[in-house]
C-alpha cells in the first residue's frame, strides 16, 4: 500500500479522490482510505496503513520473553487478554513448561469474557457507523460489567497482562465463580433484547442485508478468518480446528451464516457471544482446585531460555486467527518474532468488496469487519 501521490493530470473528470482518514469518525482509529469516487459511489479503494506502527516485532527481538508480555495486549487492545494468553502459551510450548489445570481452565474463562466484551463493543461501534448512537451506550454498559469482573482478577481494564509462563499472575478468588455467573445472568437476556432492538429494525436490515458480500473464494484468496469468514459460511474456528489450551474439553458450536453480508457478520457475532457464555458456564462448573502457577515455576522472575527451535502457534482472537511465530536460538530473547494478525488480512479483502458501493455502505462494511488498526500496524 503506497504513500500518497499527487493527483495525476490524466485523472478522468467524472471521478474525484476523497481522502477518508486517518482522522475520520468511522475509520476506527488511524486507518486511511484513499477513495476514488463517482458522485456517491466508490470506484476504487486504497487502504493506507501504518499510522500506528510501533514495531512490536522488532521490540520482541530486544526484550526477554517476559519483558514482551505487556506488548501483547497492546497489539489488539480490544481482545488483549487473548493475545496475552497466546504469547504465554506459545512460549510455554516452546520451552516445555507445564501448566496447572486450574490455570488452563481459568485462561479459557477470562479469554471468553474478553471475547464477549470485544464483540459487545463492536456491536455498539458498528451501529454508530450506521448512525444509531444509542446501542453504543447500551453495549458499553454491559461491557462495563465484564470489565469490572476482569479488573478484579487481572488488575487492568483494557491492556491485560495477567498470564505468566506456567499459569496466571494471581489466583481467581473464591468468590469469582459467583460474580462471573452474575455477569452471565445479566448478559443472557441481552441477546434477545438485541434481537428486538437491532435485528428486527427495518432500517438496520435494509442497511445490512446484501451489503458487502464476501464470497468464500475471496475469503480464501485473502486469508480472511474469524467471524468475517464464518459470516461467509465457512465453519472454521481455531478453537475447533486446532484446539489449544483447554478448549478441547468444552462443547460449543461454530455459528455460521451463508450470506457473507454485513447482516451475516452481525448475526454470527451475536451467536458467538451465546457460545462463549456456554463455554464459560461449562468451564466454571469444571474449574479444578489446586495451584494457579506451577510450583517452582519461573513466573516472570527467572531468565527463561527456550531451546533452539521454531514454533508457530495460533489462537482464535475476537477478530480471527492470531498467529505467533517464534524463532529461538536458545537465548533469553527471541531471535525473531512474527505476528499474523487477523485484521490485516480481513481489511485487505475489503479492497475487493468495497468498489461499486455507496459511501454509506463502505462505512457499514468497514464497521462490520471489526478492524483494530493498532493490530494491523503492530
Amino acid at each position: 500500500m503506497s504513500t500518497s501521490t499527487p493527483t495525476p493530470a490524466t485523472e478522468p473528470l467524472d471521478t474525484y479522490t476523497l481522502n477518508m482518514g486517518p482522522q475520520h469518525p468511522s475509520t476506527h482509529g488511524v486507518l486511511r482510505l484513499k477513495l476514488t469516487m463517482r458522485g456517491e459511489r466508490v470506484v476504487a479503494v486504497e487502504p493506507v496503513i501504518g499510522y500506528a506502527h510501533r514495531a512490536h516485532e522488532k521490540m520482541a527481538e530486544n526484550r526477554t520473553y517476559a519483558q514482551f508480555l505487556p506488548n501483547t495486549s497492546r497489539q489488539d487492545y480490544l481482545s488483549g487478554l487473548i493475545y496475552n494468553v497466546a504469547w504465554v502459551e506459545a512460549v510455554e510450548k516452546l520451552a516445555g513448561i507445564a501448566v496447572p489445570e486450574r490455570a488452563l481452565v481459568a485462561r479459557v474463562i477470562l479469554s471468553e469474557f474478553n471475547r464477549i466484551s470485544s464483540h459487545l463493543l463492536w456491536i455498539g461501534a458498528m451501529l454508530l457507523d450506521l448512525g444509531a448512537a444509542t446501542p453504543f451506550l447500551y453495549t458499553f454498559d454491559d461491557r462495563e460489567a465484564i470489565t469490572l469482573l476482569l479488573e478484579s482478577v487481572t488488575g487492568s481494564r483494557l491492556t491485560y497482562c495477567t498470564a505468566r509462563f506456567g499459569g496466571l499472575s494471581r489466583d481467581l478468588d473464591p468468590d469469582f465463580p459467583r460474580r462471573a455467573r452474575e455477569v452471565l445472568a445479566r448478559l443472557k437476556p441481552r441477546w434477545d433484547e438485541f434481537e428486538g432492538l437491532i435485528e428486527d429494525n427495518v432500517i438496520f436490515r435494509e442497511r445490512a442485508r446484501g451489503v458487502g458480500v464476501l464470497t468464500v473464494a475471496q475469503c480464501r484468496a485473502w486469508g480472511v478468518t474469524g467471524p468475517t469468514l464464518r459470516g461467509s459460511g465457512v465453519a472454521y474456528d481455531i478453537r475447533k480446528a486446532e484446539p489449544y489450551g483447554a478448549y478441547a474439553r468444552f462443547a460449543f458450536d461454530i455459528p455460521t451464516r451463508p450470506e457473507g453480508d454485513v447482516l451475516a457478520r452481525y448475526l454470527v457475532r451475536v451467536a458467538e457471544m451465546r457460545q462463549s457464555v456456554r463455554i464459560i458456564e461449562q468451564a466454571l462448573d469444571a474449574l479444578p482446585g489446586g495451584a494457579i502457577l506451577t510450583e517452582g515455576s519461573i513466573g516472570v522472575r527467572k531468565r527463561l531460555k527456550p531451546p533452539v527451535g521454531t514454533l508457530y502457534y495460533t489462537v482464535e482472537s475476537a477478530r480471527g486467527a492470531y498467529g505467533i511465530l517464534i524463532v529461538s536460538e536458545g537465548g533469553t530473547e527471541p531471535y525473531r518474532a512474527k505476528f499474523r494478525t487477523p485484521s490485516y488480512a480481513n481489511l485487505a479483502a475489503l479492497q475487493d468488496v468495497m468498489p461499486g458501493t455507496m459511501i454509506a455502505d463502505l462505512v457499514a462494511i468497514l464497521g462490520s469487519v471489526d478492524v483494530v488498526i493498532p493490530e494491523i500496524d503492530r
Partner: protein, 331 residues
C-alpha cells in the same frame, strides 16, 4: 398586552414600524430561548433513552448547560479556511436562519394573535421553508471541502424529494378545510374534529416529511457523521457553527407548530391559553422526532430517495385524490 404596547409605541414611531419592531423583538427572544430549551430537552431525552441522566451540573437539572455551551462557542475563534468562497461562506449561516424567523411570525398563536396572519399563510410558509436548503447548499459549496459538497448535494436532493409529500399532505388538509389561511384551518377544526382523525395518512406523511426536511435522524444524511464527518457544516466553527444549530432547532419548532396547526387543532384546547396549547402540541411533535433520532439507524442515500419518490409521493397523491373525491362528493 402586546397590543397595548404596540399602540404606545405607535404614537412615537408609527403603527407599521411599531408592529415590525415588537414582532421582531418578541420572536427573536422567544426563538433564542426555544433553542436553549430544545437543546436541553434533546440532551435529556437522549439521556433517558440511553439509560443515563443527561446534563445535571450547570443549573437546576442541567438547564444552564446550553447557556454555558453558547458562551463557550462565543469565545471560540471564528475560523475561515483559506480555500473558501469567502462571501458565500459568511453569508450561508446568516441566510439559514432568516427564513425560519419569518416562518415563526406566520403561525397563528391563537384566534386573535398572530404576528403576520396571511390569507394564504400556508403557501408562504411552504415557499419560505425551502429557502433554508439554499443556505445549506451555499455552506457546503463555499466550504470547498469534498465532504461539505457531498453533504450540500445530499441536502438539496433530500429537501426537494421530501418537500413534495409535505406539500401534498398540506393540500389534503386545505381541501378539507376549504381555506389556505392557517387561522381558517384551525377554525375548521374547531367546528369539527382535529384533522389528524380525518387525515391520518396526511398527518403521517407530513411528520415523515418534516423529519427529513429538518435533517433529523433517520434522515440526517446531509450531516451523517459517520460518513461525511460534519457534512455541510464541516468547515464551520464558533458562532457560525452555532447558527446552523439555531436554525435546525428553530426549524423544528416552526414545522412542529405548523403540524400542530394543520393536524392537532392548533391553539384549541381547554383551560390553558391558546399559545400555550400550540406550543405544547408543537413540543410533543418535537419529542417524537427526538425519540426517533435516538432509536433509529440512518437510511442510506438511495434508500432515502426511493422511500420519498416511490412510496411517499404516490401515497400522498392517492390520498389527495381520494380526499378531493370525498370532499367534492359531499359538497
Amino acid at each position: 398586552m402586546l397590543g397595548g404596547l404596540r399602540d404606545l409605541l405607535a404614537g412615537a414611531i408609527g403603527h407599521f414600524a411599531a408592529t415590525v419592531l415588537l414582532g421582531a423583538v418578541v420572536i427573536m427572544t422567544y426563538l433564542a430561548f426555544n433553542v436553549l430549551f430544545l437543546i436541553w430537552l434533546e440532551r435529556k431525552v437522549s439521556g433517558r433513552i440511553q439509560r443515563r441522566h443527561g446534563p445535571t451540573e450547570v443549573g437546576p437539572h442541567g438547564s444552564l448547560q446550553t447557556v454555558a455551551d453558547m458562551v463557550k462557542l462565543l469565545g471560540k475563534q471564528i475560523l475561515t479556511p483559506v480555500a473558501t468562497d469567502r462571501f458565500v461562506y459568511v453569508l450561508a449561516p446568516l441566510l439559514i436562519f432568516l427564513p425560519t424567523i419569518c416562518l415563526a411570525s406566520l403561525i397563528p398563536l391563537s384566534g386573535a394573535e398572530a404576528f403576520a396572519d396571511q390569507p394564504y399563510g400556508l403557501v408562504v410558509i411552504i415557499a419560505l421553508s425551502a429557502v433554508s436548503v439554499l443556505a445549506i447548499f451555499m455552506a457546503g459549496w463555499s466550504s470547498n471541502n469534498k465532504y461539505a459538497v457531498l453533504g450540500g448535494m445530499r441536502s438539496v436532493a433530500q429537501v426537494i424529494a421530501y418537500e413534495i409529500p409535505v406539500l401534498l399532505a398540506a393540500l389534503a388538509v386545505v381541501l378539507v378545510a376549504q381555506t389556505l389561511s392557517l387561522r381558517g384551518i384551525v377554525a375548521a377544526q374547531a367546528r369539527g374534529v382535529p384533522f389528524i382523525l380525518l387525515q391520518p395518512v396526511a398527518a403521517a406523511l407530513y411528520f415523515i416529511g418534516i423529519t427529513a426536511e429538518t435533517n433529523r435522524s433517520p434522515f440526517d444524511i446531509p450531516e451523517a457523521e459517520s460518513e461525511l464527518v460534519g457534512g455541510f457544516h464541516t468547515e464551520y466553527s464558533g458562532m457560525r457553527f452555532a447558527m446552523f444549530f439555531f436554525a435546525e432547532y428553530t426549524n423544528m419548532l416552526v414545522l412542529g407548530a405548523l403540524g400542530a396547526t394543520l393536524f392537532l387543532g392548533g391553539w384549541l384546547g381547554p383551560w390553558l391559553p391558546g399559545p400555550v396549547w400550540l406550543l405544547l402540541k408543537a413540543y410533543a411533535v418535537i419529542v417524537v422526532m427526538m425519540w426517533m433520532r435516538w432509536t433509529f439507524p440512518r437510511l442510506r442515500f438511495d434508500q432515502l430517495m426511493t422511500f420519498a419518490w416511490k412510496i411517499l409521493i404516490p401515497v400522498a397523491l392517492v390520498n389527495l385524490v381520494v380526499t378531493a373525491l370525498v370532499v367534492g362528493g359531499a359538497g
